[in-house]
């Protein structure tokens, strides 16, 4: 078992005829993903890597039974594409697109919540269940099937930390990329709920960064509900106030959103935070050993 995507995922690629869509469709197919359909308005009837392309999402769903979508369309068309996927109740809807206006993201996540659809992104790397399914752009060769759930606001750090976990023999159940924008669909808490309920996930790695208070909310949830070992990493300890560090959402405003505050909240919740990226696997192993150790017998 895994969370969000797996063997039952029948994936639709929106923007499949574009450069990114075409390139990553090939890689998703190579990773074993069942890519059943593509949509590009105006390009229906063609094929990309053997995948049939349709004019509209509802038509693609009717013809192929697609049940999830990944979006590679340019930022100015991403709102329409995502609303169309949500209208057809594809789940999850994964928005890879970077540079989407926040206003558009607000409309998409609000409509999705009403339709009962989970959205990942915008501006995220997608979601990967190693050995089963890759939805998005995560480089599959770094992963190994296993029991660690990974959830992150950063694509590049996910890859680096997953590679370290794999080297340390810690395979992954599912890696979930939330996206680097200020307003995104699923939050850390949403992903933690899934991992917490997933019997195949035995431990969790949380990768956060400066900006907002999603990590603080996660810490509260961990303290109250999560008994599985959690290790974390927070990027941006040395970032200055008021500057956007690459991600539109990675910005400290006043005293809000600092790494120090997030680290403090997570550690207080029993989720230790590694100082260096390379320290994450060892920290998680330590937490796993501690949770397995037999409790001292009284007397």
């Amino acid at each position: 078992m895994a969370v969000l995507v797996g063997r039952d995922t029948r994936l639709l690629v929106q923007g499949i005829t574009g450069y990114q869509g075409m390139f990553h469709t090939d890689l998703m197919l190579q990773a074993g993903t069942r890519v059943v359909a593509g949509v590009t308005p105006g390009r229906g009837g063609s094929h990309v890597h053997g995948v049939p392309v349709f004019e509209a999402v509802d038509e693609a769903v009717r013809e192929t039974g697609a049940n999830a979508s990944v979006i590679f369309v340019p930022a100015r068309f991403a709102r329409d594409a995502a609303l169309e996927a949500v209208a057809s109740r594809l789940d999850p809807v994964v928005i890879i697109t970077e540079g989407m206006p926040v206003r558009d993201a607000i409309e998409v996540v609000t409509y999705a919540a009403r339709q009962g659809v989970r959205v990942l992104g915008p501006n995220g790397p997608g979601v990967t269940t190693p050995g089963q399914c890759r939805v998005g752009i995560m480089p599959t060769h770094l992963f190994a099937p296993g029991r660690v759930g990974v959830v992150s606001r950063s694509g590049s750090l996910t890859y680096e930390i997953v590679a370290g976990l794999t080297r340390a023999g810690l395979g992954q159940s599912t890696a979930v990329g939330l996206g680097g924008d200020p307003v995104v669909g699923m939050s850390f808490v949403d992903a933690l709920k899934l991992f917490n309920a997933d019997p195949e996930t035995h431990a969790i790695v949380l990768i956060g960064e400066i900006g907002g208070r999603a990590e603080e909310d996660a810490a509260e949830y961990i303290a109250a509900h999560v008994r599985k070992p959690v290790a974390a990493y927070i990027a941006g300890r040395t970032a200055p106030e008021g500057k956007r560090m690459g991600h539109a959402g990675a910005v400290i405003s006043g005293t809000e959103g600092t790494a120090a505050h997030k680290i403090q909240a997570l550690e207080a919740a029993g989720a230790p935070v590694a100082t260096l990226v390379s320290g994450v696997p060892a920290l998680l192993q330590e937490r796993l050993r501690a949770s397995r150790a037999p409790r001292a017998m009284p007397g």
């Binding site: 926040v102 790397p125 694509g155 300890r237 991600h247 260096l276």
Partner: protein, 368 residues
Amino acid sequence: MKLHEYQAKEVFARYGLPVQQGVVVDRPEQVARLDLRYPVVVKAQVLVGGRGKAGGVKLAQTPAEAETHARAILGMEIKGERVGRVLVVPAAEIGAEYYLAFVTDRAARCAVAVASAAGGVEIEAVARTTPEKIATVAIDPFLGCPPFLARALGRRLGIAGPMLEQFAGIGANLYRLYWTEDAELAEINPLAVVGSSFLCIDAKLVLDDNASYRHPHHLPSEELTALEREARASGLAYVELDGDIAVIGNGAGLVMSTLDLLAHFGGRAANFLDIGGGATAEGMRKALDIVQRKPGVRSIFINIFGGITRCDDVARGIVQDPPRVPASIRLTGTNEEEGQRILRAAGIAAGLDAEEAARAAVSLARSA
């Protein structure tokens, strides 16, 4: 992107919000010649907060006094930002002061209206000391902020009678501005009672950079340096910092952690530069060019973990135009062998370990 007060007030006026636009000048001698009703207030136009405390806002009774204040304020530095312009507006006899804003709430994932009867001071301070004085309401994007919602907000602040209708109209218009102009923040503080009307004494507007294509009439940001603007035009996320070690990496999170790594070993980054996922050789070449043009760079740390980005592409970009200052390179991940081979052939050393490379970059900067 933050706007200056005078720019925000121009936008406010277009949405029917009550502002005194005043006159903007950049030379003190212009002030005395203005046809204004005295007394006036001379206000520094800066993007940082706290200008009042820094002496950037002064009341003047006469043209001569206004010119003196303008001379003092122009050229002043407020939190490191030089004052290039002042706004001169007629002073108003202020009664009660309110606060009203629409702001994107990341956790609520929608706009939130924030209002308070304790206006005129920093809202963060009110939130810390007397949070009960702040009223908020989440805005459904498909409903917006009709007058009834704004009226309900006003009533919670104790506004009544004809002032309540005015407040409701201001609320509805401010939201329309926030939404239509793709703002992250549209704030009036204070929203003052002057006689029997409301007046926006200050106006703050922060716009969403991702939406700038929808607003060709918006002016280019004044927050960015020339190099930052050039980098952005090339699709590179570049932010200037205070240190002496230039940093290039792929992916925003990875670059942020690279800055932290340098600091961990006692170094200080001169910049943040993310070449992005799937960067090309040309992107890498341009990145190297940009970071080396910032004065005071003593070494370069290139930290590449190839995922979508291919190490051979990065290496080709580096050898096209090799670094002019000592560089420490970490190159690993997708097509790592080919990337390392390309660098070796050009006589450039590169490692596989980020921490070793970070330590090397710090010692290169010290010995340079």
